[in-house]
């Protein structure tokens, strides 16, 4: 295996285009242990962290641009970003230990295509977009469309993720993400739930987006929960409807981390709590 550290998107593209067994990486948190355990090595490991654009965190006024390899510790440590998108910032901060936080990135979390990725539901409720570079230039698609199944993405040969774009929330809008793990740290999410809500001045919900992680092969949007919220206040009734809809939207598996019944039940609980937390953030005028 050869290590390469290109300094531009174009250079990375040409390395990737010339070799079908080449692989890009950012944090390498999966790549290095896999190689050590004797799994086949890529021909070239292309380190994206020397490309400035992929390590950036840009405030564009109405939106944020996050480099695909930007460490999540840079997001959680940025007050303005965390103030605009508290749920996404919190989700990004849940990826592994402090050690991992200096390597993990939204791009890596997304392109690993784990059903349990913490940041992906939070990106999805914020309608984040993925900017993908390929031989024919770049294309931009919704983050929700990137992952096609466990371990697989829609990225074609020679393509790689360059950055994530997220619009700042409109007025009276905020987000939240919660996950269930058996310990307090260091676990993979058994269930994750993200919510973004908009409330009018009288506290009625005018828009809502809810997404679940680790309960299906890919992130699940819950339109029935969103419908149940819009048009009324956040109440015990609407939250119960959110929980029921979230549980119903799950298509989980039994595995070493949780059972089907458990995931279904807790998805409802976390969806409800995430809505409540996002609503509280709106009422508190932003980040809570």
């Amino acid at each position: 295996m050869k290590y390469a550290a290109p300094t531009s998107v174009e250079e990375a593209q040409s390395l990737l285009a010339g070799d079908a067994d080449a692989k890009v990486f950012a944090g390498a948190t999966d790549l290095v242990p896999q190689m050590r355990a004797g799994r086949p090595e890529p021909s070239i490991a292309i380190d994206l962290k020397k490309i400035d654009r992929l390590m950036a965190l840009g405030d564009n006024g109405g939106s944020w641009t996050i480099g695909a390899a930007t460490p999540t510790s840079s997001l959680t440590g940025n007050g303005a970003f965390s103030g605009d998108l508290p749920g996404l910032s919190y989700a990004a901060g849940l990826i592994g230990s402090d050690q991992i936080q200096n390597r993990s990135s939204l791009g890596g979390n997304l392109c690993n295509a784990s059903p349990a990725a913490d940041s992906v539901p939070a990106m999805v409720v914020n309608d984040a977009r993925a900017v993908i570079a390929g031989a024919d230039g770049t294309r931009t698609i919704p983050v929700a469309d990137v992952v096609t199944g466990p371990g697989s993405t829609c990225l074609g040969d020679g393509e790689f993720l360059v950055e994530i774009e997220v619009d700042k929330p409109t007025a009276n809008t905020s987000d939240a993400y919660l996950r269930m793990i058996p310990r307090t740290e260091m676990d993979i999410a058994v269930v994750g739930a993200a919510a973004r809500v908009t409330l009018d001045d009288s506290g009625n919900c005018t828009a809502a987006t809810i997404a679940l992680g680790a309960v299906a092969p890919t992130v699940v949007r819950v339109p029935d929960a969103e419908t149940a919220l819009v048009g009324g206040p956040i109440s015990d009734e609407s939250l119960a409807a959110v929980a029921a809809a979230a549980s119903a939207a799950c298509n989980p598996i039994d595995d070493k981390r949780g059972t089907i019944a458990y995931r279904r039940q807790v998805a409802g609980v976390l969806a409800k709590r995430a809505v409540l937390q996002a609503a509280e953030r709106v009422q508190n005028g932003g980040a809570a």
């Binding site: 355990a37 310990r183 458990y262 609980v269």
Partner: protein, 746 residues
Amino acid sequence: MTATEERPDYKYVGTRPIRHDGLDKVIGKARYAADLVLPGMLHGHILRSPHAHAKIVSIDTSAAEAMPGVKSVVTGADFPDLGAAPNGDLAKNVIARDKVLYEGHAVAAVAAGTRREAMDAANAIVVNYEVLGHSLTIDQTMSPDAEILHDGLITRGIEPAPTEASNIVARTCFERGDIDQAFAESDVIVEREFSTTPIHQGYIEPHACVADTGQDGKTVVWCSSQGHFRVRSATADVLGWDTSRVKVIPAEIGGGFGGKTTIYLEPLAVEMSARSGRPVKIVMTRDEVFRATGPTPGSKLKLKVGAKNDGTITGVKAWMAYENGAFPGNAAMLGCMTVVSPYTMEHMYLEGFDVVLNKPVNAAYRAPSAPMAAFAMDTLLDEVAENIGMDPIEIRLHNCPSEGDPAPYGPKWPTIGLKECLEAIRDSDHYKSPVPENAGRGIASGFWFNIGEASSATVNLNENGTATVVTGSPDIGGSRASMALMAAEELGLDVYSITPVVGDTEVVGFTDVTEGSRATFATGMAVVEACRDLKMQLRQRASTAWDCDVEEVEWVDGHAVHSPGDHEALSLAAITAAAKRTGGPLGATASLNARGAGPAFSTHVVDIAVDKETGQTQVLRYTTAQDAGTAIHPSYVEGQMQGGVVQGIGWALNEEYIHDADGRMENSSFLDYRIPVASDLPMIETIIVEVPNPSHPYGVRGVGEVGIVPPLAAIANAVHDATGLRMSDLPMSPPRILAALGEAVE
């Protein structure tokens, strides 16, 4: 906080000096087995069985031998068959012969120039298996249809002896009085069935060793072990060698907890070193540690407890089956011997079954077999107390044994401190504080025997008046500091003037494994005996210098004092400086069988919050009271107590082995085998109870093990208090608790 009985006014014992080996450990200089590099050293890698149970039809190593860098390949055929001789099963566990008995069982090993070369070559070995049926649970392996692991295994303890082999190793029975009468006389009877999964010791340092075999046919082994003398004899046995051909040097050990009282790698490294003429290092990966070493066994327990309305336990009936892993052991017997020990009763019927099944063979883990038994017993006692409306401490005090009462396993109790532990918890700030809202509180007690066995120590006085204390006990929790403290107390020498050392198998006398909470007790006894011999020598030297009778010389606070008062006192340094003139160097050795290990008891209280919507638990507050006899170095006594508690918390809440249908472990990493992390826990409050052990010169009992016994039941009882649920299957993970709450029904 310490609940202290009256004791002598010690100068060093009971103080908290910085441990002598500490500096090297905080600057990265401490040398563990994996840190050793020798010139020309090869790296070993082990090929392991992917099957839970299979016959080995053939092994073809020719492709591996031809690969780059490969210097040696060995299989089971390269090691002698010891049959039924001691260590015969151990030899077959180190490397499989005709059969593999669990996923991860070693099948072949390769030594090559680099780790990668060794790994690639091991993967090129072709093994032809005939897969057999396997058993992963106690029910499966005890069933008449189960595939037999060992053809000649006839169950012991059954009359008449069975004529056919089974997977049941032995039936053990402890009986007292008439259990039917006990239940007939009871006002309350509670009974439940409990289960626990295997639990790994989870030491952070994977097993590692380096072997360097010379042309003279002798070998030197550096290893990570709790007992290098056992490594020496076991390695020699597995190789079919004479013990004197093996020298074992103990490296620093990165955690053991009982899991490093046996061997896995050493004979393979020695044999490959002999064949290649080069040193060979083998270091396990974490994945190998989980698949092939440890654990403490899983269990299935059925208990029935009878009691009167005043809280008196009338009797206990127990059916206790313990996994042994792939080879026979005696886990269930230990379960029977510990299950009711914190309580007196007239009637009991305790029946134990040891079974083999297709999992790694058991290794000891802190108070082996006792935690599961206490989980069952103390859960039921909590239920009794609830039914009759009695305080959980009061019911335990009401049934508390004291000196002279018969222990359930036979003998009468010597001096013990359970009552003092119960009272310490009852009187603690924690127990007196109200239970936090939305939380529950649980109480439990635990027992462990503690053991004595053989130890040796050599104490040499240096010419500058310092001392070197050499023992044969690997230091797994601060025992070197304890040895130095006891030597300081005896000699009247500053503790930092003493260098405690763990000697290899050729520089110090035979010493049994650091296990059974024995190091500070037994090896400490040898240190004290050697120091007392030295004190006699020091007095004689002074009498030589003073030309007086030795009876006129006393040893006081590090000085020879002439009791008639004709001479000025001589310091130890003054005597050692003149040692050549008065008779030569000063040194003493003691080798002994330590008698009179004092039983250990402990009582715990814990507050737990439960999120009833997710099943998530949170440990809010934890206090442990434990009888240490005498705490030689209180910081490391607390450390043993706290470490045991947190291992127990992990066992209770989240740790478990998960296997797929083919018997392959699914969670062989620290990601999914969930030991507690710092953010899971509160501070662990400790109350050291000191009821001195009359058989030890300083009253030491040994503190390493009993701390892991009470947490399982204490937490289960707290979960009950918080939710009304009786959790009888471990771990009490969020899915289990939520399912029990009835929220997660399919």
